[in-house]
């Protein structure tokens, strides 16, 4: 059996693993922000870039994802009208958590990965909750936070697909 070579791998272009998912996240966020009620219920409002923070840290360590997450977080703050800098910090916290535990998470079953994703997302929401509490002097609604967390948790298949799509793209990072 011959060892895999760099030449045998698919190229990992930044636009492919960073650019396109970012555009999908931005487009979906704008789409889900439409003031529409279906059967009396508003559309869910998941934090799509959290799925990207999880997947990007697993695919490979790189200089680009933190800055891409910074931009995506700023976009969320501006489009949702929240405090500027809140979501960038939450996304970067999620990315840092996964990057630190990368060796433990990589290659695990889907269920374990989902649980890891849930824990990472919870850490990000926890940080956001703490920052908002400190900023406004009053704790945000746990129920509202729970709903958004749940909606974000359901985005795991998107993160899973991204990881599966690119994790073997460069054998050095297996």
């Amino acid at each position: 059996m011959t060892a895999p070579t760099i030449g045998a791998t698919r190229p990992l272009s930044p636009f492919g693993w960073l650019g396109i998912p970012s555009l999908i996240a931005v487009g979906a966020t704008v789409l889900l922000g439409a003031p529409i009620r279906i059967f009396g219920f508003a559309l869910p409002e998941p934090v799509l870039p959290l799925a990207l923070a999880f997947a990007w840290a697993l695919i490979r360590p790189s200089v680009l994802p933190p800055f891409t997450l910074l931009l995506l977080g700023l976009f969320l703050d501006v489009i949702w009208g929240g405090p500027q800098g809140l979501w960038p910090l939450c996304l970067l916290a999620a990315y840092a958590t996964v990057l630190a535990a990368r060796r433990l998470i990589t290659g695990q079953d889907m269920i374990v990965m989902w649980a890891s994703y849930g824990a990472t997302t919870a850490a990000a929401f926890g940080l956001g909750y703490a920052l908002m509490t400190m900023g406004s002097g009053d704790a945000p609604s746990l129920l509202a936070t729970g709903w958004q967390y749940l909606a974000t948790l359901l985005l795991f298949p998107f993160a899973w697909w991204l990881v599966r799509r690119y994790e073997d793209a460069d054998v050095r990072f297996r």
């Binding site: 439409a34 500027q84 406004s136």
Partner: protein, 374 residues
Amino acid sequence: MSLRDGPFGDIRVPLTWSAAAALVIAAIIAAALLLGDRRETMKAGAYDTARRAVDAVAGPVGGTISAPVRWTHSGLDYVRGYFDAVSDNRRLRAELAQAQQLRDTLAAVQVENQRLRAVLDIRTDPPLPHVAAETIFDSRGPFANTRLANVGRDHGVTEGNPVLSEHGLVGRIVGVSDHVSRVLLLTDAESRTPVLLVRTNGRAILAGDGGDSPKLDYIRSAMDLREGDRVLTSGDGGVFPRGLPVGTVVRGFDGGWRVQLDSDAAPIDYVQILLFTDFAQLTDERALTPKDLPTAMTEEPSQSILAPTATNALAPRAEKSAVKPGGQGARLNARKSAGTAPVAAKTLASSVKAAAAAKPKPAHAKPAAAASQP
């Protein structure tokens, strides 16, 4: 010479370390932005260019996305109208009978109201101009509850304008672009609204927390609260006009008092923005800061302002101070100079003592008059 040819060419930094370094830099930038955020200050300069630009782009995009859905809803309503015609007819007949009774009651109440107003000579509030708008983007998360409305500076909208739906107060404007404005909803975690309870005339602060029903904080006479109490804006602080409908008091899951918002009764698709300039905006902070302080009116130590008699010396100065232009700014100056001119205060104190000794009058009356002197 490239970097690889230099002495540092052989140094290889592990990718994880470089990623971590990038992470730290990005986090520092984000933290700096968060610390410098001025979302809630509600001043014209606080809503930065980036937010304005994104709002300006997001407005038409949101409008375009929501338009087909609205058309579909309208079409479905049209078709549903045929199927519901019979039941609607019955319901409308019943409502008509009820409305006729209400009309009679209304006429009686109007007459009574006119008489009472005439008796009390109450001046009605000036009618507030308003603009109608359509909401085109909605954020509903726990950390931000805002909406974009499709009117902006071109329609005269400014920061602080109250926003109402057909049922009640929705929030207020916190950012304005040329054609789009950002509405901070009452449910936002940073929204604070002074309200009053109609039954008891008690005051409270309506504090959003990202949930559907904002909390009632700082309730005066909390023991008197009951579920179902009507809540209106109190007008305290001048941000909202008094008397705008807000909602109804309910018990929350946590046992605290909350408000079921009137505006929740229907989707907030169309809103009314009152072009109400709040008192805070009328106040120019820089104008309140004294630019040219009045000349220090210190007395010469050798002379007393009360000589030869205390009343003669104080009365003309009080008159002069009262007619001096400058209003509140002048009063602030007076307070400020009273607090920062120990020489004058000392002189006045000694003069008042002399006056009290010269003319036996209640001692507390004179110092109060003297303290208002610059």
